[in-house]
Amino acid sequence: MSEIAPAEIPQGSNEPVDEGPVWARRTSALWVRYTSSSPIVIAALAVFLGLVFGAIIIATTTPAVLDAWRSIFHHWSGLPVAIKVTFDNVGSAYRAIFTGSVVDPQGFWHSLTTGKGWPNTLTPISETFTYATPLVIVSIGVGIAFQTGLFNIGANGQAVIGGIAGAAVGSMLHLPTILHLPLTLLGGIAGGMLCGALPGVLKAYTGAHEVIVTLMFNYVTYAFLLYAVLSTPFQQPGQSNDIGRTMDPSAILAPLFGTKSGLRVSYGVFVAAAVVVFAWWLLDRSSMGFDFRVTGANPAAARASGINGRRVIVVVFLISGGLAGLAGLVQVASTTHYIDGGFLIGNAGIGFTAITVALLGRNRPMGIVWASLLFAALGVGGRNMQASTGIPLDLATVIQSAIVLFVATPVLVKEIFRLRAAPTATVQLATKGWGS
């Protein structure tokens, strides 16, 4: 699990011929790397396979496509039309995902030539970043736990509690921004830590499997969320619905380009950037992070070399939970500014998406950033696809889970594309059962 992207191509059987000019050797080395089963290639091909899977689903469930294929039973001449209709439908769906999450080329050209309509043109990419910001934070928390060999399936619950705690601080205290915003952020972290501590302590001292505990805790936190948004101190005054208090303007993460631009991307991106730097430092530069990775790679060796396994488990769950809580808070503070009964439920459950993001990003901070952007784009673009083509948004989640299924099974991808063995061994997550 402590894999690091290979800096150079090590010696091996697929080493290119050591002759010829330097540029040729370099190209050849790149070729070997990118036709092998190196993690980056696997991830890219998994994304491709996921998109193909999505295309198959669109083609087999869209009524227009099915009608076109039915016509070939009457006469063969319908075949080209059927193929064309299939590709048109799949193409328009994926085009809608792209224009809804990155940029609409027409609008971009219009803005570029006339200098007008920039807010509209930039809205899709701004939305993608808005969605990706908390996702990066929570996924890094999950990724750190994965690197230590721990599953934090409860990130969603921790994010919910963090969001509630942070929103409570942000709405019930009234302070100047310089104090209020940090306190709100700390409130989110503390809420998540509190919720993450329990599975950690139980795992460390009683051996309770963290998957079951965190899974169960998710449901406990949902019940608590519904209780909180309907309880007198936290409910929006004058409301009888499940809506919490609105945060003070001094506690929110303001839009990066001002409220007038209409772009929602907020100062939260700096929080996410800080988390990425923190995670990089923790995992690659600190001795504590080294302990984490050793514990994840080989618990027996870690114990033998004097690493306190219990402490590692508890600390990792505190960090992981704290980051999840921070993510939940960033989600509230940068979008709605209040919590309702549907907070982070269903498609919005970033804590569940985080598991898939962390796996796709191979638990590395930068890998997680790219994976978050991709999944955020799929989610945001999916909304546009639903609006413009009528294909339900849930397709985005289906594609995401297909991608992760392939990422979690590198051998399968390797077999499908007949890839060579990687220059460095491909790393699979350590598999373990309930007992360990």
Partner: protein, 432 residues
């Protein structure tokens, strides 16, 4: 790794066990005292409530018990004291067997006291009669689904494969079941379709877990995510434009001639849909197959020590494939059964029952009989936490909804009894 972690447990078992028995006793005592103080002494209003035993679903019941009016406050006090007495008995005698059943009795008594208390509490819509029969009949549907799910888990995990995808199999079974039941009007075909789709999902899980040694927990969770969003996707693509695929007719009840006339128990156990009887048969078949047959011995060997099993000539991978597919089929039928009691397929309407079934499996210590007991306790709790809304209880029901999950956390943490999964549960098997 597992070797290292089990060694200290084995040496200190007697001490830990007595300590844990005491912990259970203390938890039971807390429950009993809580219901004594809060339900027995706390609330003063309207101290009488009626228990009615209206025979449901039976047109010509030869019996009519009418209703039994009891002084609920005294009943609550007596029941709480029974819980406390049970706790004291466990604490002092520390029986080597039967601690968990006592805990189960205490949990159910607690729910009954809660119900009495709810029935006499003032509220905008005063309900002061508790229809015992309707509560039991209502919760039997939830219990049935949980039993299907946890039996599926028993099948898979006894062979050493963690099936976290039970929830996904429920969803797929319910979706396809609704489609087939609506088009053919026959739940037999629906059940077969559910079994096939559940088995296929099991096959996918087994394929990734056994052929590629992928992490079973990750594959399971990803499968649940995929199936729940796929069902939501197909719901919009298929069921919304073609509502006649999702008419949601319920499975009809088959009353067993004489037995169904027994007061209270009759309507609950002997006037149910075919799925309920199938569930009872499956519990018996799975228990028998796992613990009394040669094949069951193979399965358990594969789940405990695959290498040893392979040495004596058992085909580990084949046994695991068969069990995971069969387990998936059982969970798929469970999804159809859920749909047959709830009606129309809706997005997210299994609401995590698959995970509660997983919890029931653990609480029931990976045994079919234990899974049934756990399913009854969890099913009653889940059902009551939603049903008590009509009683206008002055406490938040959301805390009641947490109970099954908190119990499960207590169980896996070893606070309530000691559980031990099959030794090779979730471990990949690498052929030499």
């Amino acid at each position: 790794m597992s070797l290292v972690s089990t060694t200290p447990v084995a040496t200190t078992t007697p001490i830990i066990k007595s300590a844990r028995t005491r912990v259970i006793a203390v938890i039971m005592a807390v429950i009993g005292l809580f219901s004594f103080v809060v339900f027995g002494l706390g609330s003063t209003v309207r101290s009488h409530a009626a228990l009615s035993f209206t025979p449901l679903n039976l047109v010509n019941a030869p019996w009519h018990l009418g209703s039994l009016t009891v002084a609920t406050r005294w009943t609550d006090i007596v029941l709480s004291l029974i819980i406390v007495a049970l706790a004291a008995e466990v604490f002092i005698r520390q029986p080597s067997r039967g601690v968990m059943p006592r805990f189960g009795i205490a949990a159910i008594l607690f729910l009954v006291t809660l119900l009495f208390w709810a029935a006499r509490t003032d509220g905008p819509s005063q309900v002061n009669s508790v229809n015992v029969t309707s509560i039991l009949v209502g919760c039997s549907a939830t219990v049935m689904v949980l039993v299907f799910g946890s039996l599926s888990g028993v099948m898979c995990e006894r062979a050493g494969v963690v099936n976290i995808a039970i929830e996904g199999q429920f969803i797929a079974g319910a979706f396809l079941g609704s489609m087939i039941a609506s088009t053919t009007g026959n739940f037999f075909y629906a059940a077969i379709a559910g079994a096939v789709v559940g088995g296929l999902i099991g096959l996918v899980l087994a394929f990734f877990a056994l052929r590629y040694q992928s992490d079973q927990i990750i594959v399971g969770i990803v499968l649940v995510t995929m199936l729940s969003s796929l069902s939501s996707y197909l719901n919009l693509q298929v069921f919304t434009p073609f509502p006649n695929f999702n008419t949601g007719n319920l499975a009809s009840n088959l009353a067993i001639p004489i037995l169904s006339k027994i007061p209270i128990i009759g309507p609950v156990l002997f006037n149910q849909s075919a799925f309920f009887y199938l569930m009872i048969v499956l519990v018996a078949v799975v228990s028998f197959a796992l613990f009394k047959t040669r094949y069951g011995l193979h399965v358990r060997a594969v789940g405990e020590h695959p290498r040893a099993a392979a040495t004596v000539g058992i085909n580990v991978v084949r046994v695991r494939y068969i069990n995971v597919v069969l387990g998936g089929a059982i969970a798929g039928i469970g999804g159809v059964a859920f749909m047959a009691t709830q009606g129309q397929f809706q997005v997210g309407y299994t609401s995590g029952l698959g995970y509660i079934a997983l919890a029931a499996l653990i609480f029931g210590r990976w045994r079919p009989s234990g899974a049934v007991v756990a399913s009854i306790i969890f099913g009653l709790t889940v059902y009551l936490s939603y049903e008590l809304v009509t009683y206008q209880v002055p406490v938040s029901l959301y805390f009641l909804q947490m109970i099954p999950y908190l119990i499960t956390i207590g169980v896996v943490a070893g606070l309530i009894g000691r559980v031990r999964p099959p030794a090779a549960d979730g471990q990949p098997y690498l052929r030499d």
